[in-house]
């Protein structure tokens, strides 16, 4: 069999991690009282996190092979089998998903009081879908999970969202669906060309003719570019974010966006190396535009969440630039930055949610001088804001620096343009911080008629893991980078092997 | 001996006349009658086949066609009556409630 290491733990860890939330969701159906539902859902998300912990402990960092793999027959007639496994690229995102899901359940303790049961079922299925995408090694399974993610997200935005939620939900759904349908076509072509098998590892081992590679690359690109979101197809993100409830935004920004970049790493680069090399220049241009365009648009934003949404367009521009720089620093930086972005933007949206619970407005103009009344909140916000603009000592810097380094190695002009992103980032983030926290206290909060209280215990508990990880990755990134080294190395080696792009190394 | 193809030819002619009636007449009753005509044309050809191919199946098929024809006629006319009660016309081109 190809290079996979079967799961040697005493229980099928990946299957449990993916399907525990599903079981939880089913059990939720029988509960009635909202409080019990919330605690039960919290218990399930915690359990999923605990169950997935042994992965970290037993993860073998020296090999790029798929680990904790499980393989069972499923639909034998079409050669589809239940095949799951993780490697350096996907292992970190398992934990990002589980942690963010716990935080989402916590943050929507008071925020969501209508249809609580359906909300938590959506969150749990969402978690299962995301985990499934990261672990599945069979295209059929992958596509199922890829699609199952959409429905709960659609519901989250559509039902518990803001005023224009239906439009945003439909737009989000259609955008992603159109992309993934093209991907489905790609999968089918791969299925027939690869000899009636949907096993991702076998398919990535094959060599495809250049012409076919290009078409398949474009098909997969359509699905992943929408998810990332890359430049021209990004307009669904701001709408989806402004209308989504806090928990929805956190999951959307924290994990959903990573699917696209993960897809590039898992499918596009290993399977279609020549096509990637052929399309490398437009991809660079799109990433650079995303960085600068996303940042510039942030200057003119009036809505808090929209600004953060556009900032994640800019951040994800960095990630794609890093991934397509195709050297070890760029790829490792890209993967780490995906994790960082999950943490930072997750934290930002959590905080927006927290303040929204108090002020019920997302317009920046309604804020002002909040440092006077909520000092702890503004303290934590400045930490996260600085992490978002990549201040050294925070996790943002490590990711961004490695990416700019990789981009510079790939092309001087790329590194140069990418570096401007740092300045633009600083400008819009500090403008935002000043408008919300500094200057005079906004008149309508002075009279106390509109109480704004500082962080409660629950909210501090939500934010502490994120703040700790911001500094942990900033000061000692090796704990996380060590997971990525071997897989990134393998990715680059077989890329340069197939296309002779040795100079990129 | 009369060859089989003549019978088929006859039933084809009758069938076409039925079609013409079905497509051209305004009066709904006549349209129903043309339908009956078409069915009978089919019966003729079936019986002819049954005769020439020495198998009884054709006749059994005719038997079933007749039952269906009867049912169809009954229902068709019932609808016509129900429709007629609402607006007193049975001219085909005035009945366009289904207009999209």
């Amino acid at each position: 069999m190809e290079d996979i290491i079967l799961n040697h733990l005493d229980y099928p860890v990946l299957t449990w991690t993916v399907f525990l939330p599903v079981i939880g969701a089913v059990l939720l159906l029988f509960l009635r009282n909202a409080g019990v539902i919330r605690w039960f859902s919290l218990l399930i998300t915690l359990a999923t996190f605990v169950i997935s912990l042994p992965i970290l402990a037993h993860f073998d960092k020296s090999t790029y092979k798929m680990q904790f793999a499980e393989r069972h027959e499923w639909i034998t007639s079409w050669g589809i089998n239940y095949f799951v496994g993780i490697d350096g690229i996907s292992v970190l995102f398992i934990f990002l998903t589980t942690i963010l899901s716990i935080l989402c359940v916590l943050v929507s303790w008071k925020a969501v009081d209508t249809k609580v049961k359906e909300f938590h079922i959506a969150i749990l299925t969402m978690e299962a879908g995301m985990l499934g995408v990261f672990v599945s090694l069979d295209f059929f399974l992958f596509y199922i999970f890829w699609e199952t993610m959409l429905i709960p997200m659609f519901l989250l935005i559509g039902v518990w969202g803001g005023p224009q939620r239906v439009y945003a939900a439909i737009k989000f759904f259609l955008y992603t669906l159109v992309g993934s349908v093209l991907m489905l076509v790609g999968i089918v072509v791969l299925y027939f060309y690869g000899g009636r098998t949907l096993n991702i590892l076998e398919l990535s081992a094959l060599q495809y003719p250049f012409q076919l590679q290009c078409w398949l690359f474009l098909a997969f690109f359509a699905a992943f570019a929408v998810k990332v979101p890359m430049f021209p197809v990004h307009t669904w993100l701001p709408d989806a974010h402004t209308e989504a409830p806090t928990a929805g935004s956190v999951i959307l920004a924290g994990v959903l966006i990573k699917m696209g970049a993960y897809g590039f790493l898992r499918f596009s680069i290993p399977m279609f190396p020549d096509a990637t090399k052929f399309f490398i220049m437009p991809l660079f241009v799109l990433s650079i535009i995303a960085i600068i365009y996303g940042a510039l648009v942030c200057f003119a934003q009036k809505d808090f969440k929209r600004l953060i949404a556009y900032s994640s367009v800019s951040h994800m521009g960095f990630v794609t630039l890093g991934i397509f720089a195709l050297n070890t620093q760029g790829v490792e930086g890209g993967i780490l930055q995906m994790l960082n972005h999950g943490i930072i933007t997750g934290a930002l949206f959590l905080m927006i949610g927290i303040i929204y619970e108090r002020t019920h407005t997302r317009m920046i103009a309604d804020y002002g001088g909040f440092a006077h009344i909520v000092p702890w909140y503004s303290g934590i916000f400045i930490v996260v804001a600085l992490a978002s603009i990549g201040l050294p000592g925070t996790n943002g810097f490590i990711g961004e620096f490695l990416i700019i380094f990789g981009a510079f190695k790939a092309g001087k002009i790329l590194g140069f343009l990418a570096a401007t992103g740092i300045i633009l980032g600083a400008v819009y983030m500090l403008r935002l911080y000043q408008m919300v926290f500094f200057e005079k206290l906004n008149p309508n909060y002075e009279t106390g008629r509109h109480p704004v209280w500082d962080l409660t215990l629950r909210e501090t508990v939500i934010l502490t893991p994120l703040i700790v990880s911001i500094f942990w990755i900033g000061i000692y990134p090796e704990t996380f980078l060590s997971y990525i080294h071997s897989s990134a190395e393998h990715l680059i080696n077989n890329m340069s092997l197939n296309t002779g792009m040795a100079f990129y190394k | 001996m009369v060859p089989l193809s003549w019978y088929i030819m006859l039933s084809a002619v009758v069938f076409s006349i039925g079609v013409i009636g079905f497509l051209t007449r305004r009066n709904l009753i006549i349209v129903f009658i043309s339908v009956e005509l078409m069915l009978n044309a089919a019966n003729i050809s079936l019986v002819a086949f049954s005769h020439y191919l020495q198998s009884i199946k054709g006749q059994i098929m005719v038997f079933f066609i007749i039952t269906v024809a009867a049912a169809e006629a009954a229902i068709g006319l019932a609808i016509l009556i129900a429709f007629y009660r609402n607006n007193p016309t049975i001219k085909v081109d005035e009945i366009n409630l289904l207009k999209g």
Partner: protein, 171 residues
Amino acid sequence: MLPELFFAYFAVTITGLSILVITRKNPVHSVLWMLVLFIHIAALYVFLNAEFLAAVQIIVYAGAILVLFLFVIMLLNLRKEEIEQKFQKQWPLGMLAGTLFILFFVIILNKFAVFPAPGEYSIQAIQGEGNIMVIGKVLYTEYLLPFEIASLVLLVAIIGAVVLAKKKISE
């Protein structure tokens, strides 16, 4: 020579009658011509030694369905306003379709003269046992299910007709 003569007569009368049926202005006339047509068809069946069918044709078609048509026509007392314009506005299209049908049938007959192998019931056997016996035997063995379904269809038709045509007393 006789059978050809018979067939020629039948062919001409049946075609003529069917043309008459669809061209009469007054529906009652077309129904009556339809009656004559059914009788001729029954005769043709007898000629093709399907006596049972001829009887059924007369009883069901002529007796039941045409009577039903007459009832409906009388019920709707259409005669007076039906006099004017009897063809629809795009009748040429219908005529064209009809003629094309005939044309195609002619072509088909010349092109595909393939007929399935003869069954085992030779004409003598049918005459020997009697048409009804043979039909009965085959109907109640091989075609039992379709027979039951046919009865079901009729049941549905009856109920449907009653429900549809019933006067609305509720509102």
